[in-house]
Amino acid sequence: MFLRIVKDSFARQARRKLLTAVALALGTAVATATLSVALDVGDRLGREFRSLGANLLVTPQADTLPLDIGGVDYRPVDAGAYLQDADLGKLKTIFWRNNIIGFAPFLDVPVALRPANTSAAAPPGVAAPPAASSLSPITSPSGGTPAGRATLIGTWYNHAVQVPNGGGIFRTGLSATDPWWHVEGSWFADDAAECVVGASLARRAGIAIGQTLQVNAGGLTLPLRVTGIVTTGGQEDDAVVAPLEIAQRLSDHPGQYRRLLVSALTKPEDAFSQHDPSAMTPADYDRWYCSPYISSISRQMQEQFPAVEVRPIRQIAEGEGRILTRVSALMWLVTLAALLAAAVAVAATAGTTVLERKSEIGLMKALGASRLLIGAFFLGEQWLLALLGGAAGYAAGIGLAHLLGQQVFGVSPQWRPILLPVVLGMAAAVATLGSLVPLRGMVQLDPAPVLRGE
């Protein structure tokens, strides 16, 4: 009988109900859109901002002060300490291993370059035997002009790292830490005698894709085929970027590297993360250790590599945290405002409805309807409207989220069906909130004056 009454009553005052449903639909549409984006925003923005660079720098603890000019390490290759690239798999065994989205080891070697004689093409394929070319002069009498000195940055582009304890293979390198680096042509293969050349250097020295460079350091000269021209806006534009193994051979430091950049998904720094972990209570320490703050991830990395120093690249990390927090806060604020506006619209129409229905409410009370039932009849209708308006709002909101995602972040947010019940619940809550005051008047209505026709 309850449903029958609600159903019969629902058909009335179609225009006002449409208004209520539209208000609820608009509110939930905005809520759906912002929630979809906000739920994605953590991950999405995290990745967006990550493209400003890795957020952790790992260096040997015993390292000498780097002679770092314009980001290039000018120390002699023999000075300072080195780290072993064979240990890198351990990074994927720490507590927050899944938050380590990539890392790349670096070894910088000052080199002398000259373009190879086009006629005397370097042997293609992997690592030419050092003996074959190590005696070659730095400047070829027959070849082109010497390009002079440059830094060869040895690193990985997409290298397979064996994770210990059966952790499988993890592929990482610049492709994971710096995916935005723009390469014309293609990247080098990590196991080939190839390189990419910084755009400025290439322009200055007239180096083109497909050419082979004779690269010399110490007594060793290696031919490297140029597979691409890289533009980063940083030090790499003036350098040669080559597989780590090449740099290790040129500098005679096999299996070693000098600094490691790590890109980790981290929780924005907050008040709690600023505390000194050594002064925390055990419970707080656990909480800190089990939150993916930069500081706790750093600590865990140091536990794996006792001889290293892990430094967050602070400016980026903090800026990232602030922006993330602000964007999320803004999203929630917009959601709240939209829902509140919907509640106000619902309240306005509900107030009129109650005025119009006074006589039937009085009658029902005279016939022995409880306050609960009177309220339930009205809320039943409001919830039905919430269901319809909420469903329409959800559909519109998904569309809006795609638009918003495309416009703001360049990617559509993930479609989350779980949002539908959440949004319907919100619509019902808004409809209830908007109905509270009219509902109160309805429930407390005195039947006698109404039935007299006052």
Binding site: I5, L367, G368, P447
Partner: protein
């Protein structure tokens, strides 16, 4: 204090009701025995509706006691009052007061639903008894005044109330429909129902067992229609 007597359906004891400074009812006392048909008469504004509302649990007396079927209505809490309205009384109003968006049968079922559970078959039978078997799914707007009032009567009876309170039920009806409704009331009376009927019409008042006359909120006189020649009159100050 009078203790509830078993076959007394209504005991009004010095019932007063004031609205601000206005005394709508002023120390009204009377009793109604089960099965009696009482006409409440008096000029407009004399307190008839106020009296009916108090007995029906829609209003509370300012002082005095209104006991219906052993229950002191004025002392009931909100929840008990709701139960009381659903269980003990059946209302019929001058303006019919049907729910406009419910069909005739649904209007009757509504009272069943508030009382216990809706039983469509029983509601249909109740409408057939008042001669509306062919108007079941009509909306109030599709029914004549007389038909609407008969729906209201079926609704008032559906839960077998102890007391039927009818406030000028024929006030908005033409002669033919008035006769129909009065016939139904007569049937109810002979079936043993207790009826309080407010009316302006002496002709209708004479159909009752007794007439209670109000004036300015006071009980002016109670007239026994059966031996009106004797003018068995209770004067009341």
């Amino acid at each position: 204090m009078t203790e509830p007597v078993k076959d007394l359906v209504v005991q009004a004891e010095l019932v007063s009701k004031t609205f601000g400074t206005l005394r709508a009812l002023d120390r009204v006392s009377f009793q109604v025995v089960a099965g009696e048909w009482i006409a409440i008469m008096g000029p407009s504004g004399s307190g008839k509706t106020t009296l009916i509302n108090i007995l029906g649990g829609l209003d509370r007396p300012t002082s005095g006691r209104a006991i219906v079927d052993g229950v002191d209505v004025g002392t009931l809490g909100e929840r008990e009052l709701t139960r009381y309205r659903a269980d003990k009384v059946g209302f019929v109003f001058q303006q019919f007061h049907l729910v406009p968006y419910l069909s005739a049968v649904e209007n009757v079922m509504l009272a069943q639903y508030f009382h216990s559970v809706a039983d469509e078959a029983e509601a249909v039978r109740a409408l057939q008894r008042v001669g509306l078997g062919d108007r079941l799914v009509h909306l109030p707007s599709q029914l004549s005044g007389g038909e609407q009032q008969r729906v209201a009567l079926a609704r008032a009876l559906i839960n077998h109330p102890k007391l039927i309170l009818a406030d000028e039920p024929t006030g908005n009806l033409d002669q033919a429909n008035e006769d129909l409704v009065l016939d139904l009331l007569r049937d109810l009376h002979s079936a043993g129902h207790t009826i309080l009927l407010v009316t302006h019409s002496l002709a209708i008042g004479r159909l009752a067992d007794r007439r209670i006359e109000l004036a300015h909120g006071r009980l002016a006189q109670i007239i026994f229609n059966v031996d009106e020649n004797h003018k068995a009159v209770q004067e009341h100050s």
